[in-house]
Symmetry: C2
Subunit: 414 residues, 2 copies
Amino acid sequence: MGVSAGIVVTGTEVLTGRVSDRNGPWLAEQLRLLGVDVGQIVVVGDRPDDLRTALQFLASGNDLVITSGGLGPTADDLTAEIVAQVQGRPVRLDQELEQRITAIVEVLSARFGGLRDPESTAIATRKQAMVPEGASVIEPAGTAPGLVVPVAPGRAGPPVIVLPGPPWELQQMWPVAAATAQVQSVLVGAPELRQHTLRLWAVPESELAATLRRSDGGLDGLEITTCQRGGELEIVSRYAPEAEVAQQRLVSAVQEDFPEQLFSLGPSIDELVAAALRERHWTVAVAEVATGGALSARLAGGQLLGGLVVPTESALTTLAGVPAELIAASGPMSPEVARLMAEGARTAFGADVGLGVTGIADLPGSPSTVHLSVVTPDRALARSLVVAGPAGIMRDRVGPVALHLLRQALAGSG
Amino acid sequence: MGVSAGIVVTGTEVLTGRVSDRNGPWLAEQLRLLGVDVGQIVVVGDRPDDLRTALQFLASGNDLVITSGGLGPTADDLTAEIVAQVQGRPVRLDQELEQRITAIVEVLSARFGGLRDPESTAIATRKQAMVPEGASVIEPAGTAPGLVVPVAPGRAGPPVIVLPGPPWELQQMWPVAAATAQVQSVLVGAPELRQHTLRLWAVPESELAATLRRSDGGLDGLEITTCQRGGELEIVSRYAPEAEVAQQRLVSAVQEDFPEQLFSLGPSIDELVAAALRERHWTVAVAEVATGGALSARLAGGQLLGGLVVPTESALTTLAGVPAELIAASGPMSPEVARLMAEGARTAFGADVGLGVTGIADLPGSPSTVHLSVVTPDRALARSLVVAGPAGIMRDRVGPVALHLLRQALAGSG
């Protein structure tokens, strides 16, 4: 049945949504690349009992457990201690590690104007240098070391990899943890686990259900999940190499039923638009209102020559070049204004392709119509949609529509 | 010990990070407002066994379990069925519900150009209208109904609230689910649970540890968690009303030790900057490179008159008004260029306050220095920082620095 792992993400800040977790999914994807299947991610607050029961829950069905977070210097950071207890391993001070952390902290503190309180820093450092007996230490990428903690001799249970919460640190330290002998011995049995994604535009999930039902039997060996969001429908299959034939059958069935709507056999819409622009050696510029700068940010780097965020009539006129008379006649939200915004962005930055998006930034919740326009050297496309909801929802809905309009305009151009 | 709840978020797309979960934290906060404590959020893929073990795990220690997702029309959406099994409740077709869903689906399909495959849609709708015996139905906000499923008579266990995955639908349906008699009877015992946040700027977590240690004993009854990110240090306490005195003691201790660095007793930096601008009746404009439009998006609505994304020298010159000679002399990344970008944004949009941010958008990973400048009608402040990492990391690091620079400039102005 292969090798499986469970992930614990700690931190009340994650549990309460003040910080959104990126570590669990990132680790799940790294593990998949190693052939390890992740069935559960558990998010717990900084409480000893909640962490303990989560570790015990995941230990019972998995070959490996990974934790993220809870390695900081304050008293609520208690992952290392609880993992040691669960694994039946006493902790000891690693004096050399303590010295290495001290050196790191001194460098960091200098940025904040030097150590205010050397004594409390020493206590904090000592806490971070406590290592369970028999554990491997993963050197810190920030200040907190990671650990690989095997279960105590004579007891059954998977090893636990302990990593810090900041994503950048965790990502640097993961390969080192994965390379330890304790983890490698678990990975020995992991088979290849493939993953493939099909992406459709403007297809309701219920229609896809019919395609999948018709192909049933022929798709044995594929674990298929579908997900609809922002107008896109994503079909992800995970499978062992033996099921590659079934996967090809799935691709053919979807191609046959949705020839127009299947827009990608893998890459995201952002990647496809960036590649289409590069291929044509075309640059792009944006003039936006409803998305408040988020579309520029999404296209940033690569072929973006610039962006204009023009939420006022005066900015629409002076910067995006939309005539004041047109705004007076049609209002600041009309297909014509979107078209002139796209043209205005092209002109202002000297870009080949222009994207214009009208609307209201930071909409309080009542429905509003957003007009979009894409202008390339040889054609222009337009789209309008009605959106309700706060600013975040609006960006989630308008962003994909804008990128698909760009994709469609580029597909027929150049 | 109060009332506790566990949350299950389903969906392979969440487990693998293709969609980041907003429902778990949102539900945790709604439950806290009702006095219910959430100890764990479990994320599982669309597999019957993984969902079943997660439900059993959470049922054992909680008074209430909530699920999000897995109510769609495809075969991998199986939450309602598994919850019914775990609660020991057979499912039956609710024909009236089936008719109501059919009516909704017909309206939605019209947007996609009508039903392509009425038969498959009928099967999908019937699947969504299967209701466990004794369950309350929560009317759909999209197409999927929610459920409140009590445990079968004679068995022990908490009721399970079943809600759909799209955040907008879940948020509309939650109040209805919470108002059902089954959930209200659980909430009866819930006490008031307060939460308070202190925010510090540029304080290392280890320094705060000393303050907390010194106040220890005086802080009994507070559950304190601290979290450092992007230069901010957040201290969140959760407590029963009896511990209000301890909370005041915490606030005083932090005020005393960090009078300069404590910038908020609650609101986020974004809220504080927006309020400071409103209070002075000042507008703001942005010229940015490294953040690619993300700073405009963060300030959008309210007092933002506009934004310029100017990643090329030509755009810097023509739109932000930075003289080509200066760029030739100092390069496109210098404190002088940042200052002129801030001035240029003020001029271009006629704003009171200008923010300029240099750098490289979509940086591939090598360290780069980003210069920031804020210009108000009566002063100018500058900051520089070295950032390494991909575009997302860069925005995470530069965003808070820019907002705190705005805060500091506004605090001394006007």
